[in-house]
Amino acid sequence: MKSENAIEVHNITKKFKVYLDKGRTLKERTLFSGRRKYETREVLKGISFEVKKGEAIGLIGHNGCGKSTTLKMLTKIMYPDSGSIEMNGRVSSLIELGAGFHPDMSGRENIYINASIFGLTKKEIEERIDDIIEFSELEDFIDNPVRTYSSGMYMRLAFAVAINVDADILLIDEILAVGDVAFQAKCFNRLRQIKSEGTTIVIVSHSLNQIEQICERSIWIHDGLIRLEGSPYDVHPQYMAFMAGNSLAESAAKKKAKAENGEASEEANQETENASEDTEKKDDKKDGKRWGSKEVVIDKITVLDSEGKERDTFLNSEEIIVKINYTNNAKLENSVVGVAIYRDDKVHIYGTNTLIDMSRMLPLKESGVITLKFDNIPVNAGNYIFDLAFHKPDGFEYDFWRDAFRLKIKNVKGEIGVMSIAHSWECEN
């Protein structure tokens, strides 16, 4: 194992027996042995990757692709059929929250039980208990029985324990959706802090957004193999495009099958293949940087200055006007419109949408123009990438265009850093 690595996974495979009719009892095992047929399903077909110390990676993929199984093997609650996993350092997992909680015991007693299950000794728990209680914000209730807690309080306590178990390697499975928005933000900040302290992190999540905020690298697992690996910025668009293509193909197949009432299922299959090929081709053309259901499509983007002249270079004090021409194919009444700004080294500078800004969606016509006006973009000199999107409030995307346009922004002065912050100096004498 290389010394700079925290995790090395070498070509692991895993098969599961999926029983069609599982017999567990003596009667079933002896009398109906013929019925106990099973299929062997190959969940992982040979996955290898390395994670450096202090690095954060995200595992993505659709349900059943094997990402959670991979995480379970890293946690050592399952073992691979072949291949090997090497880990360097103390491992802790945020997979199950509140394990071992006893409803009749106090919050404090439950902290001891829960933390001990994560492998902490009594001394270590005592060192952390104040932090845990403080993080959970349950100071006033900590000596009440846990059964009197609301479900939000319960999860807060559970998360506070889990996040305070220091580890060299932290494995997280889809659990950041805990508590209210404020607490979620707190958890996220804590996670960033843990990362900055040099902890290696592996996250399995459906929320690409979360992964983009924490991880340097995404690994896309598809049908038990790694399909793509790289920075989230590059991998996620291709993943989304693939998923959108898949669901289009699926719905096409369903429509077809419905229309013909299953008569020519072969034909439907053909259709599916065609559909997925089509979408893949389409997306290839756009370098996998654009995806969505195409109910609303961005036709043209024009960037103007305050005098209405088209430009691609601006000072960081100048007004910038973005005009977005769209076609509303599905005649939708309204849509959320969003924008994100990245520096060209993929640092996320800013993001917002109409829901955040005005808590409403924009009304749409059959086709039209939406104007987005920046009074100024107070960043320092550099090249900036803009993403634009039309989407539903729940995140379902009509048209997501990564790298829709780029602008060069110049400094008035020679300041450094990400932002240009308004300020003044004063000398009191």
């Binding site: 027996k17 567990r24 399952m78 006893h102 009749d104 015991m105 001891y112 039980i113 299950i117 000794t121």
Partner: protein, 260 residues
């Protein structure tokens, strides 16, 4: 193997907090709370006394005591057989989601039952004291190795049964029946001399609980030091079954999560 022991030792806080949770949590919410731990055996003792001293004379002096000093250790063992078989499957959520040495669950189950037995023994001692039984200090000293031997034996069986139950759920119900049969095949309600002489040796060497119960009765009821051969037989069988149990458990635990 050494690495494994070290890892289990690192999880000692988990073992102790699971034991505490079991002991404290069991009677939580009831009015008498922890007192139930003593009330239960005391009332059992009263019932046996009533039945065997007044209703059904057994022909053994102080039969209730004769029975009780064997019954308490037997109940400990029987609980480990029947209840211990579900100690992995009963914690499904934890086993499926969190890594910890799986041995922790059977170990903490047996420890918590063991502590219950010790508390019941306090009741016995109290009654013996009130009834002015003679205590033989040397014999009482022998109680320590006997209890430890029984602990190891019970842990060995819990290892075997809890891991088999994961693969084969009927095991827990089969054990319910077998435990009853086993009780009647052990010298709990009768002494060994009631067994036909030609079977006695076989009986001693086939049933690992036989020498243990004989030792308990020698110490507490007869107030004498058990014979060395009884102690050694008990120890040898205890250690053997413990080794078999742990080996079986270790072999089977790798696939627990998939089988559950």
């Amino acid at each position: 193997m050494f690495k494994r022991i070290k890892e289990i030792y690192e999880y000692r806080t988990m073992i102790s907090s699971l034991v505490k949770r079991d002991l404290k949590g069991r009677y939580k919410g009831s009015v008498l709370g922890f007192l139930w731990t003593f009330i239960n055996p005391l009332f059992q003792l009263l019932i046996y006394t009533f039945v065997f001293s007044i209703v059904m004379r057994a022909g053994v002096e102080d039969y209730y005591m004769f029975l009780f000093v064997a019954l308490i250790p037997w109940i400990f063992f029987a609980t480990c057989l029947a209840g211990g078989s579900t100690c992995i499957t009963g914690q499904k959520n934890m086993v499926q989601k969190i890594y910890f040495p799986r041995e922790v669950l059977p170990i903490s189950f047996v420890i918590s039952q063991f502590i219950n037995m010790l508390l019941s023994f306090l009741v016995i001692f109290a009654v013996m004291f009130v009834m002015r039984y003679k205590f033989n200090p040397l014999a009482l000293l022998c109680l320590v190795p006997v209890m430890l031997t029984e602990f190891i034996l019970a842990l060995g069986f819990t290892f075997i049964l809890s891991s088999i139950t994961v693969y084969f759920q009927d095991m827990q119900f089969i054990m319910g029946i077998l435990t009853t049969a086993w009780q009647f095949l052990s010298p709990v309600m009768y002494s060994v001399d009631r067994i036909p002489e030609r079977f006695q040796t076989l009986y001693m060497y086939i049933n690992p609980m036989a020498p243990i119960i004989i030792a308990y009765r020698d110490i507490l009821y007869y107030g004498k030091v058990p014979e060395l051969i009884t102690l050694l037989t008990a120890l040898a069988m205890g250690v053997t079954l413990f080794a078999i149990g742990w080996f079986t458990f270790d072999r089977m635990q790798r696939h627990f999560v998939e089988e559950m």
